[in-house]
Assembly symmetry: C2
Homo-oligomer: 136 residues x 2
Amino acid sequence: MFLNLEHLGIAVKNLDEANALYARLLGVEHYKIEEVASEKVKTSFFKTGEAKIELLEASDPESPIAKFIEKKGEGIHHVAFEVADIRAEMQRLSSEGFQMLNTEPKLGADNKLVCFVHPKSAGGVLVELCQSIIPE
Amino acid sequence: MFLNLEHLGIAVKNLDEANALYARLLGVEHYKIEEVASEKVKTSFFKTGEAKIELLEASDPESPIAKFIEKKGEGIHHVAFEVADIRAEMQRLSSEGFQMLNTEPKLGADNKLVCFVHPKSAGGVLVELCQSIIPE
């Protein structure tokens, strides 16, 4: 099972402008910026209680975020849930008939292992699973 | 400021089918179903840590959810944040240049006063503010 809603990912065109907009909206400033080379995105994070808001700007025209914005415009891109054992959850979801977008977890933002469920198998929602990497 | 991400609203075509799908996905069953006549929706709720998942099925062809699905298909519809004083937050957001979809809070699902921010002024995201009604 999923432990909690870890963050909501929002696709934005310009991270600097969006950081200012979301600071006015949420009433708090972003607390970090991180580039995720593997996903071709630059991200920023806001804390809103237990869950975070993650803004995502494409750092390359081939980024999934650039393609998303081209097709649908700015807005909510994915929802991420924390899990205790990402490989076990990937196996559980596959056996339940969900289509996984990766066969192995990969390194995501915020020091986490992540994987994605295809929105076609999850009611039109791009679902991310994430597991915090605990330093040894 | 917003206190926490209270729930994520997801538009679905058929609530019974979606309840089964999301129970398989999240690994928990929905814990309640509620009809909100004012919004022409039937909703169900799942607990995922501090935040909830709210599924929304249109109970009338004129429901905002029916129109959303017609235009964009099933998927994430809005994100809701808990606030301590909804009227004060509405005033704060208006003064920050956000366009509110209602001038007065209205009664929403889950025993809350709610209002919405227009997605055009909030980076393409339909944002709900909600304040729990404490029985006297």
